[in-house]
């Protein structure tokens, strides 16, 4: 009744129009504000992304420069008692390198020719193997952007292995059954005290090799309780990426798991990798698949014991025919040893393999194994293997078939050799399953 009374008053039309006008104006202003805010956000995002890549570039530059100069310094190493000009040059250069390594903030110019981009890289952790840096980039061409990036760079471990041409090498004892076939320019060597090879056509070379871990491997970020769930026909596609989780493939038998390395190396890091029977990993693409089995760096009581367990008839097959898969494991026992004394020369009583890698029956493996702390066991059956096997101790049943290609075997050594080291940037991982769900598991 009151509203009807008010509406019937003279002049109410004007008031009504003004009220509607005010409401619509508020709506319009709100919409305009939101639109402009989105525009500012998109421009800011663009500047951030540009600056982020400048920051990453700067971190790459600093790490490359540091590593180059450290290697150069290591290569010089003149006689410390010498008073020659060479020794003086060495001392001066060593002093410069010391300054580099103790610098907390490094400024980088010239990342983008023609533009003024300056990055400050704050080195927060440089232990020779791992560089974690926070890089802040200032773009001075009229824009003002700052990006921070934290990168964990894992350099390969400095392992010196003399003599690369081994299809099978055991740092400890070796025990091989009948009918082992080794194809290629390769041999069988061991560093332990006993070698038992039942096949008379083969004999093992006793070749003691140093295992020089300058710094134990450091893998950060293995705190997630992720499980790489794998059902049949899943596909992993990667661009220089990493999956880190506590468990590996655990679901189902008879699955086919596809790894496409066409876009870059695929790096998978697990505490445990269990593969059920009659399963196959098909590796396609021109790059490599790296599977690391490592311990939880936190070493809590709940930490999972590193384990790689492949059940019967497991296969890793490269479609190209050339092994493209590297399985690398540093076990808990090995890390403890390296942490305590820093350097081991095999054979050593302390180099007792405590963890076992079992390959059972009819395995077909196009894989390079680098398992210095593992008791590598190929049980009875008729496995066919391409690529080299480096392990702490060997037990191989009858009828193993090892096909060896030396040039590829050298590449696994280069992974661990600083003279031809590669720097793996652990950054992102994209896991795509058959239903095209995308999961980003590694946080920048």
């Amino acid at each position: 009744m009151l509203s009807r009374y008010i509406i019937n008053k003279k002049g109410m039309a004007l008031a009504l129009v003004l009220m509607i006008f005010a409401v619509v104006s508020i709506i319009a202003a709100t919409g305009l504000t939101i639109a402009l805010s989105q525009t500012k956000q998109s421009v800011s995002n663009q500047k951030y992304v540009e600056a982020y890549y400048f920051a990453r570039s700067a971190t790459d530059v600093v790490s490359a420069d540091l590593i180059n100069n450290i290697i150069k310094l290591n290569n010089m190493q003149p006689d410390v008692n010498s008073t020659t000009e060479e020794a003086l040059t060495f001392e001066a250069f060593k002093a410069d390198v010391d300054k580099m390594l103790t610098t907390s903030i490094v400024t980088v110019d010239g990342i983008v020719p023609g533009n003024s981009v300056q990055s400050n890289v704050i080195v927060t952790n440089m232990d020779g193997q791992k560089l974690v840096a926070v890089s802040t980039t200032y773009v001075k061409d009229g824009r003002s952007s700052t990006a921070k990036v934290q990168l964990g760079m894992i350099s390969p471990q400095a392992i010196t292995v003399s003599g690369a041409k081994s299809a099978i090498y055991s740092w400890g004892d070796i025990n091989i059954g009948n009918n082992l076939t080794v194809v290629g320019d390769a041999n069988i060597a061991y560093g332990g005290t006993t070698a038992q090879i039942k096949d008379k056509d083969l004999e093992a070379e006793h070749s003691v090799r140093d295992v020089d871990f300058v710094i134990p491997p450091v893998f950060s970020g293995l705190k997630n309780k992720n499980t790489l769930y794998s059902s049949n026909q899943n596909t992993v596609v990667s661009i220089n990426n990493t999956f880190n989780g506590n468990y590996g493939i655990v679901e189902g038998d008879y699955f086919n798991w596809n790894v496409n390395t066409g876009l870059g190396d695929v790096i998978l890091i697990f505490n445990q990798l269990t593969i059920n029977k009659d399963s196959t990993i098909n590796v396609t693409g021109g790059n490599n698949l790296y599977i690391y089995i490592v311990e939880d760096p936190d070493k809590t009581p709940d930490s999972i014991t590193p384990l790689f367990d492949a059940k019967n008839n497991f296969s890793v097959i490269s479609t190209s025919g050339v092994p493209k898969t590297y399985m690398i494991s540093y076990t808990k026992s090995m890390q403890d040893i390296y942490n305590s004394i820093g350097e081991i020369s095999a054979p050593s009583s302390s180099l007792a393999p405590l963890d076992t890698t079992n390959i059972k029956n009819s395995a077909e493996l196009d894989v390079f194994f680098y398992l210095p702390g593992c008791n590598f066991t190929i049980e009875q059956g008729n496995p066919t293997m391409k690529g080299s096997i480096f392990a702490g101790k060997f037990t191989i049943g009858n009828s193993a078939n090892v096909s060896y290609q030396s040039y590829e075997a050298n590449s696994i050594l280069s992974l661990f050799n600083t003279s031809t080291s590669q720097t793996k940037i652990i950054e992102t991982f994209v896991f795509s399953d058959s239903s095209a769900n995308i999961k980003r598991l590694w946080v920048k």
């Binding site: 639109a35 420069d65 300054k99």
Partner: protein, 118 residues
Amino acid sequence: MKSIRDKKGMTLVEIVVSLAILGIMVVTFLSIFLGSYTVTMRAESRSNTTALVAGEIDRQLASSTSPGVSTGNAVIHYNGGVTNSIAGKNINSSVTNDKNQTILITYFVPDFVPEATP
């Protein structure tokens, strides 16, 4: 019939004035809304293009055969007056979208060629 004709109603002038005011309001606010929509679409397009270019630069970085468009030197200044220069190449990724916005990301890849150990 007479009673209907005697009823008071709006005059023609009132109707014309009302329509004029309504028209001004509609035109004004419609243009604001349309402008906001256009600006929002441009922002979305810019964000999408930025993500596309970032993905492309990641792909190039992952590819060992990605071509560098130019070479140059990055200069690194450490504390204590130590200044180094490292050569490298620039990798560019650029996309111009349908809104005529060009997003360019440049990455400097240093030449990492460690000297061989003796």
